[in-house]
């Protein structure tokens, strides 16, 4: 598999440098894998995101006005170590504490937990909200076993707006928890991405099989099925979300995200969106806004996910606020 790389083992560090170049002055490196906005206002309640690299534009592409204040970047597909998280934490802390917002993976949880303990010992107030939007990864009764997938895009956007208005870390936790609890996702894998350092595919799947509920690292899904039409697939995935415990009724407003895992084209995402909209409209559910494209990726993996975030009178103004970042910008 051909990839445009120098030393594959240096890919993570080179991409973080390139990312800072892409930010072109608005973001700076504050440690080996730690980056932060250059102009965070004093006393702002800060929002820190983070995770493994290789899933660009998340997480580290989500920094900017109305979005996150900084990010801790790990190696490819690996949670950042505590020292990187700490460097970023110290940089974004402006005296009013820092919210850690990241996907619910064992590696991330443990590394952020260690960093939080050290930060607390240094006198920095830290709280955590875990993203666990993937309905395929555990039943509704065991949310804390669910992993975070593409739903982090609307959650980070809402959290960014919330961080701008929150007077305290507690208020921010409350708003972000609401955004998280209103978000559900489920994905499908068509073919694997590859690990840059080994060139190996992240998993195997027959030419005519797809994995429903496959994770963004190639973790196997809840079910292997035969390839099906875009309409059938859209309906199958949407129904998995609608069958979950988030009540969605006629008159409700939702944000819709159709996320490509990498090489699945915008064409395919648009065809799926068309069907998802038809199905939601038929239920009287109103689409408040749409996000679409390769936002949470796993290298050149093929597949997509659908996410819904139910927005109420608290979340709508947060969604409407302008924001700017490499991964998501809203005028």
């Amino acid at each position: 598999m051909k990839k445009i790389l120098n030393d594959p083992n240096a890919a993570a560090s080179e991409l973080v440098d390139g990312l800072v170049d892409y930010y072109n002055g608005s973001v700076e490196k504050v440690g080996p894998g730690a980056i932060a906005l250059t102009d965070i206002v004093e006393n702002k309640v800060a929002l820190l995101v983070g995770g493994g690299t290789g899933h660009e534009p998340i997480y580290h592409g989500l920094i900017g006005p109305g979005m996150a204040d900084g990010a801790a970047c790990g190696d490819i597909f690996a949670a950042p170590p505590p020292n990187i998280i700490l460097d970023a934490t110290r940089a974004v802390n402006k005296g009013n504490g820092v919210l850690f917002l990241y996907g619910n993976y064992a590696g991330d949880v443990m590394n952020f937990k260690i960093a939080a303990q050290i930060a607390a010992a240094e006198g920095i107030k830290v709280e955590t909200v875990l993203i666990w939007d993937d309905v395929a990864s555990a039943p509704p009764s065991a949310k804390e076993d669910r992993r975070g997938i593409a739903g982090l895009i609307p959650i980070v956007k809402l959290a960014g707006a919330a961080a701008d208005k929150a007077q305290s870390l507690e208020e921010l936790v409350e708003l972000v928890t609401l955004a998280r609890d209103n978000t559900r996702s489920v994905g499908v894998a068509l073919s694997p991405g590859s690990i840059p350092a080994t060139g190996k595919p992240t998993f195997e799947l027959d030419e005519d099989s797809i994995g429903i509920g496959m994770g963004i690292h190639g973790e196997q899904g809840v079910g292997i099925e035969k390839m099906m039409s875009a309409d059938d697939l859209a309906e199958k995935l949407l129904n998995l979300i609608l069958a979950d415990d988030l009540p969605l009724e006629s008159g409700d407003d939702v944000l819709v995200l159709i996320n490509s895992l990498g090489s699945t084209t915008m064409m395919e995402c648009l065809i799926v969106l068309k069907k998802v909209k038809e199905l939601l409209v038929a239920k009287g559910i109103n689409i408040y806004d749409v996000m679409l494209g390769p936002l949470v990726t796993c290298q050149e993996m093929a597949g997509l996910s659908i996410s819904l975030t139910k927005v109420d009178d608290t979340l709508k103004p947060l969604w409407d606020a302008p924001c700017s970042s490499l991964g998501y910008t809203k005028l």
Binding site: A79, P81, N111, T198, G218
Partner: protein, 210 residues
């Protein structure tokens, strides 16, 4: 030539030998993780132990605990991922528990293992049976506790066997922790990659003290 106790410099030598073996085992460990996780366990271990080896090579240790803690801190700050946190805590906690002892014997090994296992359990919440490296660590810890009266080579052999048995027991388990947990029943039939790493480490240690 078998060793009854290890000096700080010998512990350093042993950990460098462990580092070499882990670096060498990159493919095997990544392959194990490809079956159950995201295929990068060997990469993280190689990254961490390459850095640890560099650190250790210039270290002039005065206590055995210092050698373990240095290793732990380096693993913790260079690996990332689930195993970075776990390996880091394991060596750090184990090392710290050894206080300012200037040699390692079978009793010290047991002290190390008890603190290491406690640190890992507190951090990640995994219990034996969850199909993680805790299974190998728990096997090692039990054997260490039962071997306090033995010579270091005998104790290390018992600990290594305990770790390997713990690792082998993970083959039949259903994962409930880490990335493999969404596999459910499909996780049966393969050993946990982190447990494989633990088993390899104690095999090298056994050969070293042997």
């Amino acid at each position: 030539m078998s060793k009854e106790t290890l000096s700080p410099n010998e512990v350093k030598e042993m950990l460098i030998a462990i580092s070499d073996k882990i670096i060498e085992s990159e493919e095997l460990l990544s392959e194990a993780d490809r079956r159950l996780g995201d295929g990068d366990h060997g990469l993280g271990m190689k990254r961490g132990f390459t850095a640890a080896k560099t650190q250790l090579e210039t270290l002039e240790p005065t206590t055995v605990g210092q050698v373990f803690s240095t290793t732990g801190i380096t693993l913790m700050s260079t690996m990332g991922g689930a195993s970075g946190a776990v390996m880091g805590i394991l060596y750090q906690n184990g090392g710290t528990a050894l206080g300012d002892a200037d040699s390692l014997d079978a009793a010290g090994l047991s002290t190390f293992m008890t603190a290491a296992l406690e640190g890992v359990t507190n951090l990640g919440g995994a219990k034996p049976g969850d199909k993680t490296m805790v299974d190998a660590l728990a096997g090692a810890q039990e054997a260490a506790a039962a071997s306090v009266g033995l010579s270091l080579p005998e104790a290390m052999k018992a600990v290594s066997d305990g770790a390997t048995a713990g690792m082998e027991a993970t083959i039949a388990m259903i994962a409930t922790m880490g990335r493999a947990k969404t596999l459910g029943e499909k996780s049966i039939g393969h050993p946990d990659p982190g447990a494989v790493s633990i088993s390899i480490m104690f095999q090298v240690a056994t050969a070293y003290v042997g």
